[in-house]
Symmetry: C2
Subunit: 180 residues, 2 copies
DNA sequence: TCGCGATATGTAAGTTTCGACATAATCACT
DNA sequence: AGTGATTATGTCGAAACTTACATATCGCGA
């Protein structure tokens, strides 16, 4: 099975969700870890169901079609568990910003400065969004290791560290771009 | 044009390369920013040439076919420059590790510890590889802003910061996983 | 000298992901 | 009363990417 399937299972492990709710969750904050459009989610849920990893029940339909609420099955939870424990491939890490920075010597200092300042702004904004989220956890020291909240908090911590590092790097670079 | 095309143009902007050399460069260190298999590179070079952004000359063939060396054209350099200056979409950031961490509450502390320790090891190793690369730059303070070397060094700095942050986060998490 | 790996370039088939299209109810605002 | 955003679920074709297949030469160690 592919990663998207496990991303969906990971969401359903915490609570039953409709396809629409899954695709909303894949935007933020799960979207900072893995993203998918709704056009991927709905087929994925069907194939997970065919594999016996999730099941659905039809509820009242607010849109043009019926609303289907999905639950994870015991088999699905086991699949998720063995995936977490399975060997992890080295991350692919595609960064369009870094690719552009590699070509920075071709453009003027002004253009370079604009690029890095825009990137810095976005990192500051996301860092602020993370800070808001962090506040909802209360005292993180009280979270039990085997709670879903602690797992979420751990990923949030990584996100915060990542944004802080990125902002610091932008400042480092901006200090080295000559002012026109 | 898509990002892969600009990644290739970025490499050719510094020096003429064969398709094979481009695919080697896309492994490391460019691979930490963007990756592609050779089966993507060769068709991409052809389509870049059709668009007039690169040109090739046939040289001696060591393999079963002719060796083609590619140069970037003036048009290609301009395309690369405007791409660097164009508005940047927010990064997609897919992290399978974070996805697994989000499901960490489902597995035993022992399994969790193994996952994070393995991840930590890989970050330490890559950090060491970066340190070796950094040493090849000599005194970074001497690099001119408009040199390809400075651009490379800037991305390397970001990579180093990223790995350091990741190792720190792994240690933070490991300290919070109960010992079995 | 025999096999193995690296060099070197490509094609073909399959999978995954994206972007656009499609539909319709409900709710808030004007 | 009408307009538009949000909720809600899906299909379809295209683009991007991966994996496997295909081929041939050179250098190196066993």
């Amino acid at each position: 099975m592919r990663t998207l399937g496990y991303a969906v299972l990971g969401l359903l492990a915490a609570e039953p969700l409709t396809g629409y709710q899954v695709s909303r969750r894949m935007a933020r904050p799960i979207g900072y870890l893995w993203t998918a459009r709704h056009s991927q989610i709905y087929p994925e849920l069907r194939s997970l169901e065919q594999a016996g990893l999730v099941r659905h029940r039809v509820e009242d339909g607010r849109g043009p079609r019926d609303t289907k609420r999905y639950w994870i099955t015991g088999k699905g939870k086991n699949a998720l568990r063995s995936w977490v424990a399975s060997p992890l491939e080295p991350p692919e890490s595609k960064s369009e910003l870094m690719l552009r920075v590699r070509a920075l010597w071709l453009v003027s200092p002004t253009v370079a400065r604009e690029l890095i300042e825009a990137a810095r702004d976005r990192h500051v904004q996301r860092r602020a969004a993370y800070a808001v989220e962090e506040a909802t956890f209360g005292d993180p020291g009280l979270l039990a290791f085997d709670s879903a909240a602690f797992s979420s908090y751990a990923t949030l911590r990584c996100g915060i560290g990542h944004e802080d590092q990125a902002v610091g790097w932008c400042d480092w670079l901006l200090a080295r771009i000559p002012r026109g």
